[in-house]
Structure formats: C-alpha cells, structure tokens
Symmetry: C2
Subunit: 229 residues, 2 copies
DNA sequence: ACCACCATTCGACGCGGATCGAAGCATTCG
DNA sequence: CGAATGCTTCGATCCGCGTCGAATGGTGGT
C-alpha cells in the first residue's frame, strides 16, 4: 500500500515521548512558550526547540512569536481530537502510566479537553442532557433537539449563533478515563465557559484539572441532574 | 504532563513506515496473513512478524491462527477511525507521497474505508443524501431524518435493525482525498454492501479500490443524484 | 514418515534520531 | 549602550530499534 498520504510521518511525530508530553500539555487549550513546554516534557530547551520545529513543520502545532517568547498552540480542533482518540486507544490497551500521579483522581473527575469539559463530570453532563431530551444521541452522533435550543438559550448560551460558525455545534468525544462520550464542539466549549463565568470551577494553573468549588459542584449537579444525582 | 494514558506508545507503533503500511493494507477491512502483510510493507517475513507482534500487543490488530496461516485484522472501528484521522492530517500537512502511483486516481475516485465507501463517490453519496433531506448534517454530526428511514428501507436497508446494534448508525468520517465528510457507521457499511450486491461495483483484489462498472456507475448516480449529476 | 510451507525466535549489524554542551541571535530592560 | 533572558543552530555522542540471515516450531500435503 504505497498510496495515500504518509501516515507514519504524523504518527512518528507524536510517537516520541517528549513530543507527546508537549502535545498533551497543549491539550489544555492555551498556547505555551517553548521553555514551559521543555519543562513539561522534561528535556532541555535545545531539545524542545528541535521537537517543536518538527511539530510545526508537520502541521500539528502553530508557532507565534511575541517579543522574545515563542508561543506554541495546537494547530486545530482536529489535532485535539486525534490526541483524544490516541488516549482512548492507549487507555483501552492497558497502557496506563505505571505510577499514577497524585493528581490523577482530580484529572479523572474533571479536566479540560482542548476547550471543553471532560472526565467524570463531562460525561455526566452529556448523560443528563441526553436523558432530558435536550441533546439527541443517535447512536454516537450528537445533535441539538428543538427543546434543547430553548434550554441552552435560557442557560446563557445561544446555539443559533454558535451554529453559524464553521465549527461543528456538538461532537461526541470519547473520554479516555470514562470510556464513554462527552460533548465537544462549539456548544461544549460554550458550556465550559459558562461554568467558569458562574464561578462554579476554575482551572488549576499548569494542569488540565478543572477544580469545582463545593457550592459550584452543587450548582452543577442541580443544573445537570442525572441518574447518579 | 506525566498523567493520563501513554499516548506515545500507540503513536510510535503507527509511526514506523512498515507498520503504517501494514495498517493501511488492513484498512481494506478483511484480515490478511503475515506473509501478505510483509509483501505489502516491503519487508522480510521475520521483520513483519516482529512488527505484527508489537501491533497486537498494543491492541491495534487482533491475530487469529488458522492452520499454518496467521491472519491479522484491525482491532476495531476505533482503530480505523484513528487511521483515517491520521491520513486526513497528513494530507492537510502536504505530506502526500512524493510519487503518486498509477492507481492513485482510482483510489481517489472510490475506495473502501474499513467497511464503507470513501473517495469522490463516497462524499458525493453523502452530499446527495443530505441535499435531499434523507440524512441531516448538523454541523458535522450526522443523523437519520424521518424521511430517510423510509427511503433506506425501500433501498433494501433496515435502519431500525441497524440502530439496535451497538455500533453508531451513521458517522461523519473525514475523507483524506476530498477533505470533506463521507458516511461511515453501520449505515455506511450497509450501503456499500448493497452496492456490491447489486453488482454496481466490486473490490479490486489486493487494493482498496472500488471499481464501478459503467452501468453500475450510472445506476449509482441515478440513485444518489447531486449537484454534480 | 517425509517434505514443503508458513510463521516465529534469536543474534548481529547498522542507521536514524534523540539528547545535550557550546555558541549565535533576537529582544527587553537597566 | 551593555547586560540579561529566551530561543535557536551547530556539532558530537550515544542509545534504541528496524532490519535481515540462520535456525526452530507447527501445520498440511503426499
């Protein structure tokens, strides 16, 4: 099979542990400097620079110079989805880290997946929306129900405006820790933003952990009641 | 970011050219023997055996012994989707093969993507279905419309029966040659099967090319008329 | 029972690439 | 203008792993 695009180039880019760690760090959604990524990956700045150049040339990250800093971010949502798919397959293959870190439980509970909510609370939110008929899950492909449009508007999100964008409104994203779907897409991003705006939760600096306050968690569970609530 | 599953292991598996070629060959959907995969990848049988053992241990392929042959197949649909995502990113990054082979045009026109139709005719089919309101494309997430259920039943496919399965009914799959969506999932598989059954097209041995006969192509274009038809 | 064929294991070779030290450039601040 | 900081380039080193030759195990055919 010498036809088609060269898959192995892209895969080999993510195949190096240092580069994979950088990409995972960028899954937080915001751009990071080359130095930060070097520390994140546990390599020297020179090595990191070499890696980042390759990732940029491969179209996986986009560089942006700002003064004497070089910021790098994921090239797009497709790259983030690819990373999440890889994580799902890796988790399924039992390739979990041998030594789960101390923040692992918090990460499983609620984390950010590029720009939307993932982890236990992420799938619980989607479960609640589907259970109440606000989002339709037709065998894995998500769509907004007519009732859902009104609900989200009252929640402070305008689905019509989001749907006008070029980005898919809602998209099923396989959660590597829960092995079930959570919601991505423009709507998923807007919902996480609302959670931040209302002060229910905040990002822990330097991690992908989304930390809910006690009243924030209560409000979340009331807003998205489910079988577990 | 030392948390979460080890992404790099899985990516590194596909990162080797020989292994990537084997995986691409398996994207044809049917299981192949170790020897066939060795020829496909252009390596010796010993090397192929080593690669296949690693792929199997990584959960990307599943081995099956039959007599003195060892058959290997993709481990599941998720693996196939991951491969297609990689191909899409690779094509976007301009990582197309330097020397497009002689069968490349045929492959771009119509090929099999794991078990459903891809290529120019694949996206044309989805375009036609969406244009006639039989399938709804809500910003990238596909779902069957009420009218579509009746249509497919008259076409010889039972959507209700398919929906009872565990597999998603229809799923948008980014086409690497067209850079647009075609339809996968259980419905996509059933439609391709129908195309085979009606004698409109057949698989070329040893390739992913779906070759339409002249009358078959005419029937296809009549069944799925679009803006181009 | 013997041979043919296919797949796998073992061992050795060699290449590619990840890594870091040192130097070079650009930018910002005093 | 000089010093400090952050990123990148160059050169050298070294480890990992892909590769194949030879040998072993297992199955099917004669």
């Amino acid at each position: 099979m010498k036809l088609g695009p060269d898959i192995s180039r892209v895969a080999a880019l993510i195949g190096d542990p240092a580069r994979a760690n950088m990409m995972s760090a960028l899954m937080g959604g915001c751009a990071l400097t080359a130095g930060e990524l070097a520390r994140e990956a546990g390599v020297s700045p020179q090595t990191a620079s070499s890696h980042l150049a390759k990732l940029a040339q491969g179209g996986l990250v986009t560089p942006r110079r700002q003064g004497r800093h070089a910021y790098y971010a994921l090239a797009g949502e497709e790259v983030a989805e690819l990373m999440e798919s890889l994580a799902g397959l890796a988790a399924g293959a039992g390739a979990l880290r041998t030594r789960p870190g101390p923040r692992e439980p918090a990460l499983r509970a609620a984390r950010v997946c590029y720009d939307h909510l993932a982890g236990g609370l992420g799938v619980a939110m989607l479960d609640s929306l589907v259970g109440r008929g606000l989002v339709e899950d037709r065998a894995g492909s998500l769509s907004l129900s007519p009732e859902g449009a009104g609900y989200f508007r009252s929640f402070g999100v305008d689905p019509e405006a989001l749907a006008r964008g070029r980005r898919p409104l809602c998209r099923a994203c396989l959660d590597w820790s829960e092995r079930r779907n959570h919601m991505g897409g423009a709507l998923g991003k807007a919902l996480l933003q609302t959670i931040y705006d209302r002060g229910w939760a905040r990002r822990l600096d330097g991690t992908r952990v989304v930390a809910f306050s006690a009243p924030g968690l209560a409000a979340f569970q009331q807003a998205f009641p489910g079988s577990a609530g």
